[in-house]
């Protein structure tokens, strides 16, 4: 069965680019959100296997949305994708429980390997 992914980014062009990469690689994009508030609502509604999350977004930013999603579901798999490459931000997302962090602009292969790694980690945890 295809893994179901929720894309969260305020830029529609980034959602389109990511969706193309994911669909070509056999994933199902079950929803798209443009801010952190929508992200949590859609997460509760769609229960995706994994979320890709931008950081700088209006209303609720990606770091807060990551925390909100993990508060709702401690097993949620969230990959942060952002242009922000700063120690304090990286520390905050790692501490909050992000599965991985990908720097924009990214190579397609990096996205796919990060998703596979996060999804496999879930499987391994369940097996453990």
């Amino acid at each position: 069965m295809k893994s179901r992914i929720l894309i969260v980014d305020d830029a529609s062009i980034m959602r389109r680019i990511l969706k193309n990469i994911l669909v070509i690689n056999g994933y199902e994009v079950v929803g798209e959100a443009s801010n952190g508030e929508e992200a949590l609502d859609l997460y509760k509604k769609l229960k995706p296997d994994l979320v890709t999350m931008d950081i700088v977004m209006p209303q609720v930013n990606g770091i807060q949305a990551l925390k909100n999603i993990l508060e709702y579901d401690k097993n949620a798999k969230v990959i942060m994708i952002s242009v922000i490459d700063q120690r304090h931000a990286l520390k905050e997302v790692i501490d909050a429980g992000a599965c991985d962090f990908i720097l924009k602009p990214f190579e397609n292969e990096r996205i796919i390997s990060a998703i596979e790694d996060c999804l496999n980690r879930e499987t391994k945890n369940i097996q453990d």
Partner: protein, 194 residues
């Protein structure tokens, strides 16, 4: 070190890094060149921009905030925004025919990437935190966008530090520019490590 020399050094370095990131984003050789960096009189700079004020452009404006503050503006000719959109989507050039939500989003993301790259550069060099705000995209005449930028960036001052950079993208003739208004006071404490 004088504050102007210091800002020039810091900005040049961050622009070099932004060039590399832009090339990767567009998958086309791209270079950003520092065109000018100077303290300018607001009335003079506004007047010179108004000479081309009726040119239709797209603009992306945001604040960089944290241990230092800057106001950031990226502007591009409306027709060139279509080329940027095709480059970002890996479409054949000419596929995007008109300004729409997708091309607005492309300019938003370019502003996001460029300002993020500059923020990261400041952060790494000085071990500080600088976060860009959510970009606001405009499709308007150059005069209107630039006046708004200067008005918001200058506060109550009569003169500002203005950094202007121009872009060269291989294969296509693209006319666009990036402006930064650094709040010079916020840069003073960065000089200490130097």
């Amino acid at each position: 070190m004088e504050i102007n020399r210091f800002i020039e050094m810091v900005v040049k370095q961050s622009i070099d890094r932004a060039s590399q990131v832009l090339s990767k984003t567009l998958r086309a050789g791209a270079k950003i060149e520092l065109k000018s960096l100077a303290a300018v009189d607001i009335s003079q700079v506004t007047e010179s921009m108004m000479a081309e004020g009726d040119k239709e452009v797209m603009g992306c404006m945001l604040d960089m905030d944290g241990d230092i503050q800057c106001k950031f503006l990226f502007i591009i000719n409306a027709k060139d925004a279509l080329i940027f959109t095709d480059l970002m989507l890996r479409n054949n050039l000419g596929t995007t025919k008109k300004i729409d939500t997708v091309s607005e989003s492309a300019i938003q993301e370019l502003g996001n990437i460029l300002s993020g790259c500059i923020s990261n550069s400041f952060s790494k060099d000085f071990d500080i935190s600088v976060m860009p705000s959510v970009p606001v995209v405009f499709n308007d005449f150059l005069g209107g966008i630039f006046s708004n930028f200067i008005f918001e960036g200058s506060g109550q001052k009569d003169s500002i530090w203005l950094v202007q950079a121009k872009f060269l993208v291989v294969r296509v003739q693209i006319e666009c520019a990036m402006f930064l208004i650094p709040h010079t006071e916020s840069f003073f404490h960065l000089q200490n490590p130097i």
